[in-house]
Amino acid sequence: MSKVRVLVGTRKGAFVLTSDGKRDKWDVSGPHFAGWEIYHVKGSPVDPNRLYASQSSGWFGQVIQRSDDGGKSWEAVGNQFAYEGVPGTHQWYDGTAHPWEFKRVWHLEPSLTERETVYAGVEDAALFRSEDGGASWQELSGLRGHGSGPHWQPGAGGMCLHTIVQDPSDPGRMFIAISSAGAFRTDDGGKSWRAINQGLRSEHIPDPTAEVGHCVHRIAMHESRPEVLFMQKHWDVMRTDDAGESWKEVSGNLPTDFGFAIDVHAHEPETIYVVPIKSDSEHFPPEGKLRVYRSKTGGNEWEALTKGLPQKDCYVNVLRDAMAVDSMDSCGIYFGTTGGQVYASADAGDNWAPIVRDLPAVLSVEVQTLP
């Protein structure tokens, strides 16, 4: 029977949760790297026992950890993220020029095809690649050199490159997203990039439809349809059917279209999930009810999923990297909260239960489906 491994990054360490295919009993391992912020943990699709973790601290900076045994043991690898050339400036919150400074790695994305290749999205926004299992890192500087870089500005969480989506049908194509610059696409393996924000509308920038300046929170893709992307923006849930050439809003009947996380069912590419959050100034669910919303129509028509989730007095947040799906026959959906719970549904969202409930604030959740 298949197994499921859930990789959880929190404010104070990493946790590895494992279960058999029934997904009703869970073993919790951790905290790994206790006391450190673990922004993200993710496994290689090529070798599922190869894991990477982003470990950071305001005191001690950035460390990258690697495991080759599914998280039982770890080895610190390279932690030097040097921008190529003179980094230049981006916009500060007040619009003044501010120098580019490396702060931390938000997201690690192992290659779909090469075991030793992994991408890192960092704050201040840039994309790095390692081709030696994380021992050394080189910036894909064509992104920051896109030309619009001096106009990028940080969101409340910092100017982070938080989303990296590889196209499984085209090794040269990749999508990334930056808060608060927007979405970008490369078609040549990261050498050159173009902004793909047409159709986004953001009222917090002087020109609401500008080429850049949009606070994209998360992008999700189903591997069978790499030209279709779903986006949770600061406000608005969006969709593109042409690889980002144009976006249209699919917020539909959501109670609020603010939120962070978004993901796609493993076997139904038109079934998508979001967790609506009240607003950008009130980072908790509307009415104190923690509800996942599911659309089986690729957006616009949404249903609330509530069974097993707290429906009163719940004021947690679900952050952008804190939702994932497994690929079991009955698709499992997982998300973590800033209250330290990780909720799972083994039936595509119909019923939920916490699989662990008193962790530090959850920053990220990834899931591996293992043979």
Binding site: G35, G58, W59, F60, G61, V63, A76
Partner: protein, 99 residues
């Protein structure tokens, strides 16, 4: 033998228990001690001072002999008691509540 005491998180990261004892060639300064420390424990590179600029990370301090040496030149000699191994160089994380 130069003695260095690291914060708990860095001891864990480098798999160190207790104080580190280092042989330091030449003048005993912040720079020469940290160079020796990072040569012995490469995992500490970038955690105490910046990879490129070699500047002390903002939330770390260097103490020895009940003195704050954080703002001394990295090439200034450390107190004799540190050079003689009578006192450790303390790498201390700033006290902060935070998240």
């Amino acid at each position: 033998m130069i003695r260095v005491l690291l914060p708990a998180h860095l001891r864990t990261l480098a798999k160190i228990s207790g104080e580190v004892e280092l042989e330091v060639a030449g003048q005993v300064t912040q720079r020469s001690v940290l160079d020796a420390l990072e040569a012995r424990y490469p995992v500490l590179r970038g955690t105490i001072r910046d990879h490129v600029t070699q500047e002390r990370r903002a939330f770390l301090r260097f103490f020895a002999c009940e003195e704050d040496l954080s703002h001394e030149s990295p090439d200034a000699p450390l107190p004799d008691a540190v050079g003689l191994g009578k006192e450790p160089l303390l790498v201390v994380g700033a006290v902060a509540g935070g998240l």
